[in-house]
Symmetry: C2
């Protein structure tokens, strides 16, 4: 690959350069506008509805790229559908409303510690974990 002649750039500026396209901007805007998790199909529909012409494959690619870069979080919903949401990059978990999808980010240092300890006790290394809380939020309790 031809070396980029970029003089005054920091060493880590070997930017893979994610280009800013109309489609990605629209996707981010849509994600920004919603509180809870959204599915790829759902986002696709929403954008089409707004007159944005975006291919489904593009949605999936953009979402995947953003997940990889840590810009958004993904959870596998009840079915087999993955849902996405803009997120803070710090490690955290989610408390998701089963009915309306409203989501609260929570962090649990105690859980992290417990996880490492348990794993260590059993001789496991490179430990990772998934933890999601599901419930019914106050609004839905009142409404229900």
């Amino acid at each position: 690959m031809p070396r980029k002649t970029d003089s005054a750039s920091p060493p880590e500026q070997a930017a893979p350069a994610t280009r800013s396209t109309r489609q990605r901007r629209a996707l981010v805007a849509e994600l920004s506008a919603s509180d809870g998790f959204r599915s790829a199909q759902d986002l696709h529909h929403a954008l089409r509805q707004q007159g944005e012409s975006v291919g489904l494959a593009t949605i999936y690619r953009a979402l995947q790229a953003m997940v990889d870069s840590g810009e958004l979080d993904t959870v596998k919903a009840d079915g087999n559908e993955a849902v996405y949401r803009l997120c803070s990059q710090a490690h955290h978990h989610h408390l998701v409303c089963r009915q309306c999808g409203r989501t609260v980010e929570v962090s649990g240092p105690a859980v992290e510690r417990w996880a490492s300890k348990v794993a260590e006790e059993h001789g496991f290394t490179e430990v990772d974990h998934t933890l999601e809380l599901f419930g019914v939020c106050q609004a839905c309790q009142s409404a229900g």
Copy 2:
């Protein structure tokens, strides 16, 4: 262990009677013979290999029935494949080896408490949670 007879079943419609068929017996045998989680497809292959003629649909149905009755646990693996395993009925979590699938059941009272507390703080009710630990077991570390 005291079998918990589900009090929810109406008296007039007696036992839903899950019949003991050759296929289900083979499936349970196969599950009993393995330590870690197995996928439906995997189990199907294994049984075929042994000369047991079993349909894939049957595998899925039997697995689903057993999950419903609490006889086995299921986790969605990295991909989109669900994996199953015979399990104790008490609430617990899993520490799964990413490479060989070997699984250890672990329980974390601290986590349960933390989950309820967090949920309550945010006004959520009917809270449930999923928690799985993934890592590399000692055997695989040595082998790797």
